[in-house]
């Protein structure tokens, strides 16, 4: 099951050139672009591992593509995303986020039902991937 979160996730995977253009858009807006990776694809998993520092003072997006490729060498079998943080007053949050790398095999999610008091059922989703310990989730 293809993971769809962030921008462009219903589109075919972005090429490096497209990643560069998107990142350049963010840089031109004055946002700090950074690269993050994770092997826990749950939608509520907000804080991914940082790959290096946010790139505050790189005027050109070639540096972002460079870092994405460096990260792919190390974590090529995990999810990698590029995010852009807007520090301006009133926003102070992520303005862009898109996945640039995904595992070759994405097992998807299952629904977990928990019986509560009375006849209440609580639903939650769990990725099949996280049943393996960290670091062994994707081949």
């Amino acid at each position: 099951m293809r993971l769809t979160q962030g921008q462009f996730s219903f589109l075919p995977d972005l090429t490096d050139e497209q990643i560069r253009e998107q990142a350049q858009y963010a840089i031109d807006k004055g946002w700090a672009v950074s690269v993050e990776y994770t092997d826990d694809p749950h939608p509520r998993n907000t804080y991914w591992e940082m790959w290096g520092h946010p790139m505050f003072d790189n005027p050109d997006a070639a540096a972002v593509v460079f870092e994405v490729n460096e990260c792919r060498k190390e974590h090529g079998s995990k999810y990698i995303r590029v995010i852009a943080f807007d520090s301006s007053h009133g926003w102070e949050s992520i303005r862009m986020s898109f996945i640039v790398n995904r595992p070759s095999d994405e097992p998807g999610f299952r629904v977990v039902r928990q019986e509560g008091e009375g006849r209440i059922i609580r639903y939650t989703v769990e990725s099949y991937a996280v049943r393996e310990p960290e670091g062994r989730r994707y081949a």
Binding site: N58, P59, D60, A63
Partner: protein, 310 residues
């Protein structure tokens, strides 16, 4: 990605491309603002022509690879290497060979770390910052210290070479330094020599050119020489050249800074009543003649190391 590639033009108008790219403006600016440096200007014009032709060839589908644009600037201190590098960056930007056209100036300290494992991230950080622009490495030979085989400079050199080769589209590296030491640096690092296509030699300025530079500098700050002071400046340049730590235009700039200081002092102690704009902006002979250079140079009195860095 797009399937509809526009048909290739059958011919290219070089003159129109020249006008369109705005290269003329940069070359003209170079001609106007830089005094002397004949051979350097000539080389830059040639490089610009080469790049324009290459661009045209690419439009016709004749050339595919990005030409190697890495350069080395050699010359004595104060001969305008950094200034020309700045112009080069905007020239390459106008021609579309770098995307942003900014200049990142670094020395050994910015690239080489202090302990094991510190160098690679530091060098990569700088390289990332320079992507889309020009990386100017001043006194590049300090990167290589043959007397210490465990020097981290070697690591920085390896990363540099790798990026210079693999990310040729992303950044242009300019190495700068004194001629003889750069030659030795290239001898011991043949990888650099082969990756650098353009070697540009910066000649020293003549006395006449330095005087014109002095006047241009003063003009930029709304000062001027009176006729005697101009003569004194010519004498100063002749005397200064023979003394140690002579750094061409930079020595002139420092001399003018000190002359302005003395002028301010003179006005302050001598002025009776109000001063006009004329008095405030004229450098007189005595402001220059008071210089230590006329009394045998730095050896008399306190020895001050004039900085020959950059």
């Amino acid at each position: 990605m797009s399937d509809d590639i526009p048909p290739r033009p059958a011919e290219v108008d070089l003159a129109a491309a020249y006008e369109e790219s705005g290269v003329r403006g940069i070359l003209q600016e170079l001609e106007d603002t830089m005094i002397g440096l004949g051979p350097v200007k000539q080389r830059i014009r040639e490089t610009a022509a080469l790049l324009l032709v290459d661009q045209a060839r690419r439009q016709l589908g004749l050339a595919t690879e990005t030409p190697t644009l890495h350069m080395s600037f050699t010359g004595n201190p104060g001969t305008g290497k950094t200034t020309v590098a700045l112009k080069m960056a905007s020239l390459l930007h106008r021609l579309g060979y770098v995307r942003k056209g900014h200049l990142v100036t670094v020395t050994r300290d910015d690239l080489v770390g202090q302990y094991i494992g510190h160098t690679a991230p530091k060098t990569k950080e700088i390289l990332k910052k320079a992507m889309g622009g020009v990386l100017f490495i001043d006194e590049a030979y300090y990167l290589y210290r043959p007397e210490n085989e465990r020097d981290y400079g070697q690591e920085a050199i390896e990363i540099l070479l790798q990026v210079m080769e693999n990310n040729r589209d992303d950044l242009v590296v300019i190495l700068a330094g004194y001629g003889d030491r750069m030659d030795r640096f290239f001898e011991s690092n043949p990888g650099f020599r082969s990756r650098i296509a353009h070697h540009i030699e910066f000649p020293d300025y003549s006395d006449e050119e330095l005087l014109r530079i002095a006047e241009a500098m003063l003009h930029g700050q709304n000062y001027r020489f009176d006729p005697e002071a101009r003569k004194a400046m010519a004498d100063y340049i002749r005397a200064r050249r023979t003394q140690p730590h002579f750094a061409n235009a930079r020595s002139i700039r420092n001399a003018l800074d000190r002359a302005r200081l003395r002028q301010a002092n003179r006005l302050f102690s001598e002025a009776q009543g109000p001063l006009g704009a004329d008095a405030l902006s004229t450098i007189c002979e005595q402001d220059l003649r008071a210089s230590r250079v006329f009394r045998g140079g730095l050896d008399t009195g306190r020895v001050v190391q004039s900085t020959a860095a950059e």
